[in-house]
């Protein structure tokens, strides 16, 4: 592992919470507010890590283990994802399956931790989470399979090294379609508008937020940090498909990818400022749309 891999390995762990800050600043700008500082997420993590905790009497060890296992999974996924054209710390053929399934484990433990509280609100969130992610999974894997077909390899690092802005010349529509599908998956998996509203205050309408209502203290810090990392990792997948900048100089590539990540944060902020959440019954249609986009990208590759 060289210095570059190590740098890109550490980047998400350091920068991920800042992405939340960029989204919030954008939203504040559109609303004409000053908004919270960009580093607010770090302050909150610091605060939560210094608090005690309260546990419901109904819960078991499953509730306590959930945040830890979830954070460990997303940290491993971060180590699997390449950044800025540099090979990731861990890369092997078909690592994208492990990548997708690590998020599966994270979801499994988060949902079980929610059900462990015996609260009907958390059950509601859990039930919606599994319903939507079951549809997001095929969209993600078929989209990645299209990229694998395009680049002739099935390791995330090789796939993204095989893409460049030149790819747009001969396979532009494929990249755009896969990018669209991945954007929908990204918004769904990270519980953003139009699937879920991170700012809502009504338990009945929440998905992700309601599942973690009962967590507090360090457990909740783990959950928040895991969510920030997940936002970063899935976002990096998206920007590498849509904006594969390859200058030949690793430092410049990483800088370009960082700019693209910031751009993604602004884009999410704009989406959240411009539109409301979809009605819950409409969300599956959006996800079906993502599957169709991925499949269409594939059809274009096969013709």
């Amino acid at each position: 592992m060289n210095v570059l891999s190590l740098t890109t390995l550490l980047l998400p762990f350091v920068c991920a919470p800042a992405l939340l800050g960029i989204i919030n600043k954008t939203k504040a700008f559109f609303a004409g507010r000053k908004g919270v500082p960009v580093l607010q997420a770090y302050f909150e993590l610091w605060k939560l890590l210094h608090k005690g905790a309260v546990y419901s009497r109904t819960t078991t060890w499953v509730f306590r283990a959930g945040p830890m296992i979830g954070l460990a999974c997303v940290m491993l996924a971060a180590a699997l994802a390449p950044f800025g054209g540099v090979r990731s710390a861990i890369a092997f053929p078909c690592d994208l399956i492990l990548f997708a399934y690590l998020f599966g484990v994270m979801r499994f433990v988060t949902v079980l931790a929610a059900l462990d509280t015996g609260s009907s609100f958390e059950g509601m969130g859990a039930s919606r989470e599994v319903a939507f992610s079951a549809l997001a999974e095929p969209a993600l894997l078929v989209g990645l399979a299209a990229v694998a077909r395009l680049t002739g390899s099935c390791s995330l690092s090789d796939m993204f090294q095989g893409l460049s802005l030149g790819t747009y010349l001969h396979a532009g529509p494929v990249l755009v379609l896969v990018g669209g599908a991945l954007l929908i998956v990204f918004l769904t998996e990270n519980a953003r508008i139009p699937v879920d509203d991170p700012n809502t205050h009504l338990e009945l309408t929440m998905i992700h937020e309601v599942m973690v209502l009962d967590h507090s203290g360090p457990d909740f810090a783990f959950i928040l940090y895991g969510a920030a990392l997940k936002l970063w990792v899935l976002g990096s997948l998206l920007i590498h498909v849509v904006a594969p900048v390859r200058t030949g100089h690793a430092g410049l590539d990483i800088a370009a990818a960082l700019c693209a990540m910031a751009g993604l944060g602004v884009l999410v902020g704009i989406i959240e400022s411009c539109m409301a959440r979809l009605r819950l019954v409409r969300v599956p249609r959006l996800l079906m749309g993502a599957v169709v986009l991925s499949a269409l990208a594939f059809v274009l590759l096969l013709r």
Partner: protein, 663 residues
């Protein structure tokens, strides 16, 4: 070979001993359990020897039955099926002994061990038989033995119905097999499988086409492909839990075994066979898990999940066959290897889950998920092992279910990255299907585990369940350990299948070995990442412990939005949990809602219930059999029960035949 013969002999002698000593039921049952365990252990060792050694041992004794021969053989392909049959056979026997402890019908229990031994012996016979006639004898013995086990509690009307449905489905399936063996035997001039395989290469497409369809229908009925799965959700819940585990874990796999054995007798596979298998696998997988999601009965839910897993196995076979027919050797090897490993894995985790369901049923007295809750605190061992089984069946790393699905994915992605167009289309279908099935399975098992074991008890049943006895706990712990073990030793397990994969593909083992060696490095990485994950979890746990060490850690009620009188009945139930997913798939929505709405200022008691019946049974089989019965009832006019008339029929028939013969 000697060991497998000893195993068969032990099982059969044990069965005879059970019948002879039925005057003393306790001893009789003990004899049955002991012989089952002894026979299974011998068979399991024989299976490992054959799989690792890669040799084929056979035994041929002349038999006076026309067309038949006592031709038995143990090759690596048989061994892949023999190992789970005997392994799960032994563990289920130990569990069953504890499960039946103190059962009021001691005599019935003793006799059930005769049927149990017969079932295990006949399954061993099915995978060892190399003569069609012998195969059918073993196949039918298996069907009958399991029929008697399914109708163990024949006092209940539902159990009797389930038994009848099962018996009829079995025999309809066998009818297709009779036709299949007749066609192949006539071509080969012998009912020996070796002769059939030899003449297979020269089969004209018109014959092999029908033979494939017959094999798919005949063996598919046993395996539980949709739409010939209807017996599964009836028979599995009716049987005692250790028998359900054995039937669901291994007996339905004999259908997969038969299909593989016959594919080797039909020459090179035509491309559409692969597509047919892939399509069957996708339909069974997706509909199986959707039907499972809609169930509230734990054993019924698990039964539908068997349909789903048979679907995953068949997706692997489909990818393999398509790879074979288009010359993508690497794709084919990984597809078949994934399918075969999933056969083994499904036996382990489905066995575990059924045993866990049995412990819940035994302890709480109900299998209705909506009446349970909070059992993890009250039945910790059952809870933890059920959780491991649930994670494994969802294909989550680092457990065994992930390894077999990963092999199929690996084959499919290899096909996507570097194959011509047609193979790619099949591979993408497999990838999308597996991803959807994985997501839905996660929904289903978070529901099952979450509603049964977490939260608060939803009824009196779940408040004071009696925990599982040691005889029940040990097999569950052993199976859970195997789930973890296969997951963590994947880089060793996968190449070990090379001989069996070569047998299934009907090619020399060299190609299979090369194909599987390509999977070793990714699997080693997967295990490495899993180990890193475990270390990371330990670090985080230590961090959390340190952070909380000097702080106040309080206990309170669950956040209830300020409501002052929360009750356990307000929790989310299995039906409410599954509703959003089921709403997305109108195709599978056969759910009936019954509700009494609240009305007026002082509403009377209200109620709400859902029920999901099998779509195919309701819409197709029941109308079909009803119509058939109507048509056939016409013949009843000729049946009065008067002997004189029957004699008249006989005489008339003889005269007609005489006239026919004289002509």
């Amino acid at each position: 070979m000697i060991l497998s013969l000893i195993s068969l002999a032990a099982l059969m002698l044990g069965g005879v001993l059970v019948v002879l000593t039925k005057g003393a039921p306790v001893w009789s049952a003990r004899a049955g359990v002991a012989s089952a365990v002894a026979g299974c252990v011998c068979g399991c060792i024989a299976g490992f020897q054959a799989l690792v050694g890669g040799r084929t041992e056979s035994l041929e004794i002349p038999w006076s039955v026309p067309g038949g021969a006592l031709h038995l053989a143990l090759d690596p392909l048989s061994a892949v099926f023999l190992i789970p049959i005997t392994g799960l056979g032994a563990l289920c026997a130990i569990y069953g002994a504890a499960y039946f402890q103190g059962h009021r019908d001691a005599k019935g229990v003793a006799l059930s061990w005769f049927h149990y031994n017969l079932l295990v012996a006949s399954m061993i016979g099915v995978v060892l038989a190399r003569n069609a006639l012998l195969f059918l004898v073993a196949w039918e013995t298996m069907a009958l033995a399991s029929f008697f086990l399914v109708s163990f509690e024949h006092g209940k009307a539902t159990v009797r119905t389930a038994g009848w449905i099962y018996l009829i489905a079995c025999h309809l399936g066998t009818a297709f097999l009779l036709a299949l063996f007749a066609i192949l035997g006539e071509r080969a001039g012998s009912l020996d499988f070796a002769a059939m395989a030899q003449s297979g290469a020269a089969l004209p497409a018109s014959v092999s086409r029908w033979a494939f369809v017959l094999a798919l229908l005949g063996f598919g009925t046993k395996a539980g492909y949709i739409p010939v799965h209807v017996w599964l959700p009836e028979a599995h819940p009716a049987a005692p839990s250790h028998v359900s585990a054995l039937m669901s874990g291994v007996m339905i796999k004999t259908g997969i075994y038969g299909l593989l054995r016959m594919l080797a007798c039909l020459g090179a596979p035509a491309p559409w066979w692969g597509w047919c298998l892939l399509g069957t696998g996708l339909v069974s997988g997706i509909l199986g898990v959707l039907f499972a999601l809609a169930q509230h009965d734990i054993k019924r839910l698990l039964a539908y999940h068997s349909v789903e897993n048979i679907g995953i196995i068949t997706i692997g076979l489909g990818v393999g066959c398509i790879g074979l027919s288009y010359g993508a050797q690497g794709v084919a090897v990984l597809g078949f290897a994934g399918a075969l490993l999933h056969v083994l894995n499904h036996a382990v985790f489905k066995g575990l889950l059924f045993l866990g369901a049995g412990a819940v049923l035994h302890g709480a007295g109900t299998g209705d998920i909506d009446h349970l809750g909070g059992l993890l605190k009250r039945m910790p061992v059952t809870g933890v092992t059920f959780l491991i089984g649930s994670a494994a069946i969802c294909g989550l790393p680092p457990l065994n279910g992930f390894v077999s699905e990963f092999l199929i994915y690996l084959g499919a992605f290899q096909g996507v990255a570097s194959s011509p167009g047609v193979v790619v289309a099949a591979c993408v279908a497999a990838i999308a299907g597996l991803a959807l099935i994985g997501g839905l399975a996660a929904a289903c098992f978070t529901k099952a585990f979450g509603v049964i074991f977490l939260g608060e008890p939803r009824s009196e049943h779940a408040v004071h369940p009696h925990p599982a006895s040691r005889g029940m706990r040990v097999p569950m712990l052993a199976l859970a350990a195997v789930c973890v073990l296969i997951g963590l030793s994947a880089p060793v397990v996968a190449p070990g299948l090379a001989n069996a994969v070569a047998g299934a593909m009907n090619t020399p083992p060299g190609a299979a070995r090369a194909g599987l060696n390509a999977a070793v490095s990714p699997l080693a990485w997967v295990v490495g990442v899993s180990a890193a994950g475990l270390a990371l979890i330990l670090v985080l746990a230590a961090l959390r412990k340190r952070l909380l060490a000097a702080r106040t850690v309080g206990a309170a009620g669950t956040w209830d939005c300020g409501y002052v009188r929360p009750t356990a009945r307000m929790q989310y139930t299995a039906s409410s949990f599954a509703q959003p997913v089921l709403d997305v798939f109108p195709l599978a929505r056969g759910t009936r809602y019954r509700q009494v709405q609240p009305a007026g200022v002082l509403p009377a008691p209200v109620s709400f219930s859902t029920e999901t019946k099998d779509l195919f049974r309701n819409r197709f089989y029941e109308p079909f059999f009803k119509r058939t019965a109507e048509v056939l009832s016409w013949f009843r006019r000729a049946q009065h029960g008067r002997v004189q008339l029957y004699v008249l029929y006989l005489a008339l028939a003889l005269i007609v035949l005489l006239v026919f013969g004289l002509k």
